[in-house]
Symmetry: C2
Subunit: 256 residues, 2 copies
DNA sequence: AAGTTTGGTTGATTCACATCAATGAAAACA
DNA sequence: TGTTTTCATTGATGTGAATCAACCAAACTT
């Protein structure tokens, strides 16, 4: 094996480990030294890719592990007694899924994959154990849980106080800024979720979401061609939806 | 000092420490052995009582410590750019306040006391440090953060999908069960928050909350005499509001 | 390539809740 | 004790978004 081959092999290894992961700056490794990242890596499983409709876990299931989106996207939802689905969150790369279940030990919602998605899996017991050995990891885990609380507070504020236009604008702003954080375009992106899923998440009817998209398009704020969204006037959208939940809540990091 | 006096003194000491606190089974000490509770106790400050309107912290303030309600109650809210107040949560004894701020290091909302209230104060740095020494404490801290996520998810579901009647019923059920958990009556209690604060939290107008109370009263589900609430038919209320956010979310522990 | 299904858009109608307005009753204050 | 202020209730009216309904365009079938 010559030197070049060694380099390639080790690069490939890195790509498939926490160390080489491009999301490390958003995820659990934040603040960890290289040696500790290796320890974290040793408790992480990388599954074969999931496809649209695949479930990470189901409502009612026992909690044993958290998932982290590596690429693709995931929705969290629960089914009510009539079997209606209610979306409570969307997850993008670097975001942790399943945190709501630590408390009771049971998942209170289901997590379904929205498109071809890679995810890391971390047994929670192992994560807890390692966290008590590595203060930095404990710190980041607490921060990520807090991020979730923060974002959910923002959603409560949004759903409690804002109009359909404000909700949709806030949703688009949120996605845009999260894509940007991940090195993607803030101005053009594809939605992995349907209008119905957006509507469910925002507490609106599908028709209202559709009409709001059309109205924004008429005003020249964006161009929506099915799943493809081009944001033309991000300032104006921000004006409508960005500040309504106030500067206090940047719904930036996770859902909405 | 005779033996009786010694006993009384140590009892009083206990009352003012985590060890003797009646809320220990809901709060951070869960799962800790006596010796570890003492360590926890050593980083907790018990402030002189707060009064209605006093602030625990203000939106925008730097985060340094969490609060835990010992008696009384607290609301969390944020002010939008127009100065309107939006309630995002109510906290009862044993519930942790300020968790949303760990992530950014800044409080994204304000916390105001609703009635004469005692609260414990825990410097977060100390709590983190102690948590990495005591795995049980780390575990409970994670559980309490997760409880918050869980409850907020429930609120998102409630606000996104349910009618005014369902929201008010769910709110009352939630309070009722939380009072019961704390050894108080599930059937009769006093609201520490105004109708306007309830309305803000539930994303409704004051008038709608008031009318809904009246309608419930007409149906014989409850008797509301200003702040005093007597629940007459908890089953029926559960039927309206309890199951709507499904069995998945018991909004029981924290905020409505 | 025609038929079927699914997802999205648009229009017409309805309704639940917000808003506006007035009144009453309890605290708060002088 | 009267006055002011605040909070809760109830009624009348208006409206934003849900619902109902039709249609269109992709995407999937065979």
């Amino acid at each position: 094996m010559n030197k070049n081959q060694t380099t390639i092999v080790s690069l490939l290894k890195d790509r498939a480990s926490c160390k080489g992961c491009g999301l490390a700056s958003l995820c659990l490794p934040v603040g960890l030294v290289e040696n500790d990242i290796d320890k974290l890596n040793s408790i992480v499983t990388r599954n074969t890719p999931y496809h649209r409709g695949d479930m990470l876990y189901n409502q009612g299931e026992a909690f044993s592990r958290i998932f982290i989106v590596k690429s693709g996207s995931v929705k969290a939802y629960y089914e009510d007694k009539d079997g209606n689905e209610h979306v409570v969150g969307f997850f993008l790369p670097g975001e942790l899924i399943g945190l709501e279940a630590i408390h009771t030990g049971l998942h209170s919602c289901s997590a379904a994959v929205l498109e071809t998605t890679a995810a890391c899996e971390v047994p929670f017991e192992d994560l807890e154990k390692l966290s008590s050995e590595l203060p930095s990891l404990q710190h980041q885990l607490l921060r990520l849980l807090s991020r979730e609380v923060h974002n959910d507070c923002g959603m409560v504020a949004l759903l409690g106080n804002n109009s359909a236009e404000e909700r949709v604008a806030a949703f688009l702003i949120s996605l845009s800024s999260r894509f940007q954080q991940r090195g993607l375009s803030a101005h053009e992106f594809n939605l992995s979720m349907s209008r119905a899923e957006i509507a469910s998440f925002l507490g609106l009817a599908v028709e209202t979401v559709s009409r709001t998209f059309s109205r924004f398009q008429d005003k020249g704020l964006l161009e929506a061609e099915r799943k493809n969204i081009k944001i033309m006037d991000i300032e104006a959208l921000n004006e409508i939806g960005g500040l309504c939940a106030s500067t206090a809540f940047q719904l930036g990091q996770k859902h909405a």
